[in-house]
């Protein structure tokens, strides 16, 4: 027990690589499960045989043409939402700052609904409108945190976000009432799902996700410095204003891409950084690294659950993430003191 007091073991208790490896391993398991289980007559053993390249033609088709694209889209969505949540929370110093809860996803969703109503069909246009909507949502959130007293009141910010989300959802519903054709398309998309999305959507979002990853690599170090306080960050030679602008832009890119891919998924950006922080401690760089395997694992795991719970039918992915995420929200709020970042 005396060892526990030595400095080296304090460092060891924050060991970084074991959780990263464990999360990576978990992710592999979830990917395997996603390929093996699903709707349709192909059983897990058939799918396994197909993966070993000696299965039936039908199993091969189901696994590579139906389940594989879905898996990839879920992975990218989870990656984007997890990173966006971690960035936004670190920047606003608010453990509840989640793109879905703060209305960024709803803004993105409203923009897509508007684009569909106006006749947009190509993947690129939807992605672009989703990102523009997310950017507007992010700008509103940043403006709101600038209001005196609101920046350090996490819960009031969340309540404002929930109100904003309600308003945008009402406006989206109104758009749906306007046009029956658009309504069918929007309704399919708005509950949040990764099923049956064409891979062309993925190609359309890939450039922005790559750009966002590059931006994160640039911004991670200054962001870690900003955790020490704005003055310290300035003293270390960073420019908080510029960093904030870059992060806002990055979050908009990530959330917009994720929303274009899977529809507005709430709570993912809350759950993923929550899990990652529990293992990584306060360093935002470690948190971001851990979000890389955890985010995809959470979304894909939720997707596998959504196929299994209601089999042979499917449950919308957004419903599963809400059912997983709301208890986490309650747990964070229930904690003796509001954890501050």
């Amino acid at each position: 027990m005396l060892n526990a007091l030595s400095p080296t073991s304090v460092v060891a208790s924050r060991a970084f690589f074991p959780p990263l490896l464990a999360a990576g391993f978990l992710l592999l398991l979830v990917v395997l499960a996603s390929l093996l289980y699903g709707a349709g007559p192909v059983s897990a053993s058939d799918a396994m045989a197909a993966l070993m390249a000696n299965g039936t033609e039908e199993a091969w088709f189901v696994v590579t043409e139906l389940r594989l694209p879905r898996t990839i889209i879920a992975l990218i969505t989870g990656l984007a939402l997890g990173l966006a949540g971690a960035l936004l929370q670190s920047m606003t110093r608010n453990p509840l700052a989640e793109p879905g809860l703060l209305g960024v996803s709803a803004g993105s969703g409203f923009a897509v609904a508007l684009a569909i109503l106006l006749g947009a069909t190509t993947a690129t246009l939807t992605t672009l409108s989703a990102q523009l909507g997310a950017l507007a949502g992010c700008a509103l959130v940043i403006a709101a945190t600038r209001v005196q007293g609101l920046g350090n009141d996490p819960v009031r910010l969340v309540l404002a976000g929930a109100t904003m989300t309600g308003l945008l959802l009402a406006l989206t519903s109104m758009l749906m009432l306007m046009d029956q054709r658009a309504a069918d398309e929007i309704r399919f998309w708005i509950t949040g799902s990764v099923a049956g999305k064409p891979l062309s959507m993925l190609w359309a979002t890939l450039p922005s996700i790559t750009l966002a990853l590059v931006l994160i690599a640039i911004v991670a170090r200054p962001l870690a410095a900003m955790a020490l306080g704005e003055k310290a960050a300035v003293g270390l030679g960073h420019h908080p204003g510029r960093i904030r602008f870059l992060i806002t832009f990055t979050v908009a890119l990530l959330v917009g891409s994720a929303t274009a891919l899977a529809g507005p998924l709430i709570f993912v950006g809350l759950v993923v950084p929550f899990i990652a922080r529990a293992f990584s401690g306060p360093d935002i760089r470690k948190t971001l690294w851990l979000c890389v395997p955890v985010g995809p694992a959470v979304v894909l795991g939720a997707d596998v659950l959504s196929r299994l719970i209601a089999a042979p039918a499917e449950m919308p992915l957004g419903v599963v993430t809400a059912l997983i995420g709301a208890p986490v929200l309650l747990a964070i709020v229930r904690a003796g003191r509001m954890p501050s970042l």
Binding site: M174, A310, A313, A322
Partner: protein, 329 residues
């Protein structure tokens, strides 16, 4: 002791409500003049007008009146009990939970209880969970409200699950109601709501003195002779009942429970809990919002819940984002 200002406010709001009722009755696909509307109500109109007013529109207006009044009264009551103007049933998730339970009874997952009863059960369950999670903090502060947001999210998700498992036409039929609409009301639920509202109003009037003392601290209220625990339990029970019954009629129409008491409080003399004024204002809000929804994009009908959300959300945002909030406690 009735005082002048409150009587004046109540009379004015009542006049507004009567006006809103008559305009609601007169407006629609078939336009009826205000005079003919009055004659039809009195029973002296030609059969055609009589049918339009008394058979088609009266039950809808009636449902709107009762549910608006019940929601506003429930909101006013809960704000008073929690000493927090944001603690309205919609914000802390009671609406959504009541909807989830009522949808369960409509969809019929093994339970064939009437929607009113199920909505009541849902409202009670959500309240119990919200208070349980808030724990020692009680209703003070925002923790209670964020717990409510979580509960509302779960209930909304459960509603979607149930709707996604039934036939598509049943889901489409239930959809307007899940965003709040006067279209899907059943005569029986309206009747139950009417009885509940009348009974609740009588009880509340007898409690009004105790409720007024709740605006002070607990110590002062006790010193003034209020039985705090009993008042709180009765008040909360009534608030939950009114919300549940209203939701079983009109679905989760948000923000009336917030807006109407705000208006009533601004108009009435401070120091009293303006239950009557809130109820009158809530009924008028509901009717006007429904009227807007029916006429704005006619022949398209916009559910009343969407109208109240679009009108009410900016106001709520303003309360939240204003640099120096007055009394958010």
């Amino acid at each position: 002791m009735p005082d002048k200002r409150n009587t004046l406010v109540n009379t004015a709001l009542l006049g507004l409500l009567v006006l809103a009722t008559i305009i609601s009755l007169a407006t629609g696909t078939v336009q009826v003049s205000l005079f003919d509307t009055l004659r039809a109500l009195a029973g002296h109109a030609d059969p055609m007008t009589d049918f339009v007013i008394n058979e088609l529109r009266l039950s809808r207006v009636n449902a709107g009146l009762l549910s608006g009044a019940a929601l506003a009264m429930a909101g006013c009551l809960m704000q008073t009990l929690a000493r927090n103007r944001l603690a309205t049933p919609g914000i802390i998730g009671i609406d959504n939970a009541a909807t989830a339970f009522a949808v369960a009874s409509v969809v019929g997952v093994g339970l064939s209880l009437a929607p009113s009863a199920m909505a009541l059960a849902g409202a009670a369950a959500a309240t119990a969970i919200a208070f349980g999670l808030a724990g020692a903090n009680g209703t003070r502060g925002y923790r209670f409200i964020v717990a409510g947001i979580g509960i509302g999210a779960i209930a909304g998700a459960v509603t979607q699950v149930m709707l996604s498992r039934v036939a598509i036409d049943a889901a489409n039929a239930a959809y307007p109601w899940t965003v709040g609409s006067l279209n899907a009301r059943s005569g029986q639920s309206v009747l139950v709501l009417g009885i509940g509202l009348a009974a609740g109003y009588l009880v509340l009037m007898s409690l009004s003195r105790a409720l007024n003392t709740l605006q002070f601290t607990d110590a002062v209220a006790i010193a003034l002779g209020t039985r705090l625990k009993a008042t709180r339990i009765i008040g909360l029970g009534l608030s939950v009942m009114l919300t549940g019954l209203a939701v079983s009629v009109c679905g989760p129409v948000g923000l009336i429970a917030l807006l109407a008491p705000e208006l009533a409080r601004a108009l009435c003399r401070p120091g009293k809990v303006p239950l009557t004024a809130a109820a009158l204002a809530g009924a008028s809000f509901m009717l006007v919002a429904d009227l807007l929804g029916r006429t704005l994009f006619a022949p398209l009908e916009i559910p009343v819940g969407i109208i109240t959300a679009i009108v009410g959300s900016p106001y709520l945002l303003w309360i939240l984002l204003r640099p120096s909030p007055r009394s958010l406690t």
